[in-house]
C-alpha cells in the first residue's frame, strides 16, 4: 500500500489561461504524508496556479489532481474539507476580530460553538497571538497576520496545507518566526506544500522540492539530491568589468577543475570540482587573458547553482 502515504498527486496537470498563456504544463507531482514539499520557481513559473488547481480555485484545462485521494475537480466540496490554504495575499476577514477569524473558520468547517471556541483559543496560544485575540485584524503586523492565516489554515485539521509564498514581504525576524511555526507543524506530522522563490527557504524547510519554470517540472528531489546533481563541490563567483565578462567565462571554463563557467548577470559563476588552489588558478588565468578581476568569492553549491544549471538564469529578482 504505497499509495497510502501519498497526500497530493497530480497527473499531467495543465492550465491554459485565456489569451493562450500556458501557466502550468503537464505537471506530475506526488507529495507524501508528513513532508514539507516545496514548489520553487521564479515569478510567473506557475506556482500559484498549481496551488490554485489543487485547492479548487483554478479549474485545470487538462490532467488530474487528487488531495487525500479525492479528485479535486470532480469533488471540490469533499476536497475543500481536507485542505487548508494560506494564499499569497492577506485574506483575513477584516470585519472580524483575530479570535473571530479562527472561530468562524471552525464553524464553516462544521465545528460546534464550543469546539470552535476551544480550538481557536488553542491555536491563538500556539501561535502566540492570544493577547491580540480581540483586536481587529487590521491592527496586526505582517508577520502576525501571516501566523494567523497559518493558524486558520490548520484549524480544521486538514490532511494538507498549502502556503503560497508564505514569507514574501516579511522582515527577516518574522520570516524566522514563521519558519519555526512551520517546523513545529512538520514535527506534528502535518503535510505541507509551500511555494517559494527563496532558495534559502526551500533549502532550509523542504524535505523535497520541485523546481519549476514556465509551468514545467525541471527537477525533483531533496535539496541535497538536487545540489549533488551539479557534480561540483565548490562554486566560484567572479566579478570583473561588465564588457569582459563573456570573455572571462570562456577563460575560466578552461581552468583546471572548472566544470563549467557561465555569465549570470554582472558576474561569472564557475562550478568547480577539486577546489584546492582554485582561487590562484582563476587569478592567473584571468591575468594571462588581460582581464582585471575585482572580486572573487567561494561558496558551496546551492539550489541557486542547480537553478542556473537548469535554466541558464538566476532566480533572484
Amino acid at each position: 500500500m504505497t499509495v497510502v502515504d501519498e497526500v497530493i498527486r497530480t497527473e499531467a496537470l495543465t492550465k491554459d489561461y485565456p489569451g493562450g498563456i500556458r501557466a502550468v504544463d503537464g505537471l506530475d507531482l506526488s507529495v507524501r504524508s508528513g513532508e514539507i514539499f516545496g514548489l520553487l520557481g521564479p515569478n510567473g513559473a506557475g506556482k500559484t496556479t498549481t496551488a490554485g488547481m489543487l485547492t479548487t480555485r483554478v479549474v485545470p484545462t487538462s490532467g488530474s489532481a487528487w488531495v487525500a485521494g479525492i479528485d479535486v475537480v470532480a469533488h471540490p466540496v469533499a476536497a475543500k474539507q481536507v485542505i487548508g490554504v494560506v494564499p499569497q495575499t492577506n485574506t483575513l476577514d477584516r470585519s472580524l476580530s483575530v479570535f473571530e477569524n479562527l472561530y468562524f473558520h471552525g464553524r464553516f468547517f462544521g465545528m460546534n460553538a464550543r469546539t470552535a471556541r476551544a480550538e481557536a483559543d488553542r491555536r491563538l496560544e500556539q501561535f502566540r497571538l492570544t493577547d491580540r485575540a480581540t483586536q481587529p485584524v487590521a491592527a496586526l503586523s505582517g508577520g502576525m497576520a501571516q501566523r494567523l492565516m497559518v493558524a486558520r489554515a490548520i484549524l480544521h485539521r486538514p490532511a494538507t496545507i498549502f502556503l503560497d509564498e508564505p514569507t514574501a514581504g516579511l522582515d527577516p525576524q518574522s520570516r524566522l518566526a514563521l519558519w519555526e511555526v512551520l517546523g513545529e507543524l512538520h514535527a506534528e506530522g502535518q503535510t505541507i506544500l509551500l511555494t517559494t522563490h527563496y532558495m534559502e527557504e526551500a533549502d532550509q524547510l523542504c524535505d523535497r522540492l520541485a523546481i519549476i519554470d514556465h509551468g514545467r517540472l525541471l527537477a525533483l528531489g531533496s535539496p541535497e539530491e538536487l545540489k549533488a546533481t551539479t557534480g561540483a563541490d565548490t562554486i566560484v563567483t567572479v566579478v570583473a568589468r561588465p564588457d569582459a565578462l563573456d570573455r572571462l567565462a570562456g577563460v575560466l571554463a578552461g581552468v583546471a577543475g572548472v566544470q563549467q563557467a557561465v555569465r549570470v548577470d554582472e558576474q561569472v559563476v564557475a562550478q568547480v570540482e577539486g577546489a584546492d588552489g582554485i582561487v590562484p588558478r582563476v587569478f592567473t588565468a584571468a591575468e594571462a587573458a588581460g582581464i582585471a578581476i575585482t572580486d572573487v568569492s567561494v561558496a558551496e553549491p546551492s539550489l541557486e547553482t542547480v537553478f542556473i544549471n537548469l535554466t541558464g538564469k538566476d532566480l533572484r529578482e
Binding site: V3, A68, H156
Partner: protein, 279 residues
Amino acid sequence: MSTVSPPESPLVPRRSPAAASRVAFAALLLRDAVVLRKTLREFLPRTLLQPFLLVFVFTYVFPKIGQGVGGAGGEAAFSTILVAGVIALAIIFQGIQSVALPMVQEFGYTREIEDRVLAPLPIALVAVEKAVWGALASLFSALLVFPIAAFVPATPVDLQVNWLVLCTLTPLCCYMCGALGLFFGTRFDPRTVPLLFGIVVIPITFLGAIYYPWQALEPIRWLQILVLANPLVYMCEGFRAALTDSPHMSLWVVYPALVGFSALFTWQGIKGFARRVVS
C-alpha cells in the same frame, strides 16, 4: 486511489458534501449576523434616516405648510400611497447596502472573500448565501421602517392589510433585493461603484412607482411601459395591494414578475460570482 488518512485524527468528521454544505451555509449566515451586530450603530441611521426624511417632508412638512402633494386624491391618499413605496425603498436599499457594497470591497483590494470561498460548500451556495443574507437584512429594515411610514404622516394613513399577500410578498421582495445586491456586487468594482448609485440606483428609485401608483402613469404611456423593466415597480405595487386599498397593478403580474427577477438575479449573480473567484 485509496483514501489517505490525515496526520492527526481529524476533529471535524468528514461529512458528506450535502451535510458539509448545510452546516457551512448556516455558519456563513451567522458570520454575517455577527458583523451586522457589530456595525449596528452604522446600520440603524443608514437604514432609518432616508425613509424618515422622505415621509417627514412629503407627508408632514408639506401638508403643514399647505403645499399639498397627491393631486386629486388629496393629502391623506398620498400618505397612503407613499407607505408602500417607503417600505419597498427600504428593502431595495438594504439589499444593495448589505450585499453589494461589502462584496465589492471583499472582491476588490482585499480578496478576503477567498476564505469563505474555501469553506466546504459549492461556490454557487456561497453566492446564494449572500442573497439570503441580503433578504434577512432587508426584512429587518422593512420592520424598522414600517412604523415610520405608518405613524409619522400628519394625515392619517389608511391601512387595509391583506395578510396573505403581505406574508408572501414580503419575503419574495426581500429575496429579490438580496439577489439584486449579489448581482450588482459581482458586476461593480471599487472604481466603478459610484456609478452604481449615480446611474443605477437613482433611476430605479425615481422611476419606481414610489410616489404614485403605476396606473397613474396612464397619460404618459411610453413611460408607463418603460418602467416595467424596473423591479421596484412590482414591489411598490405589491405592497400597495398588501397594505392599502389604493389602486394597484394586478397581483397576477406582480408575483410572476418578482419571481422572474429573483431567478434572473440569482442566476446572473452566481455566474458573476463564480467568474470572479474561479479561473
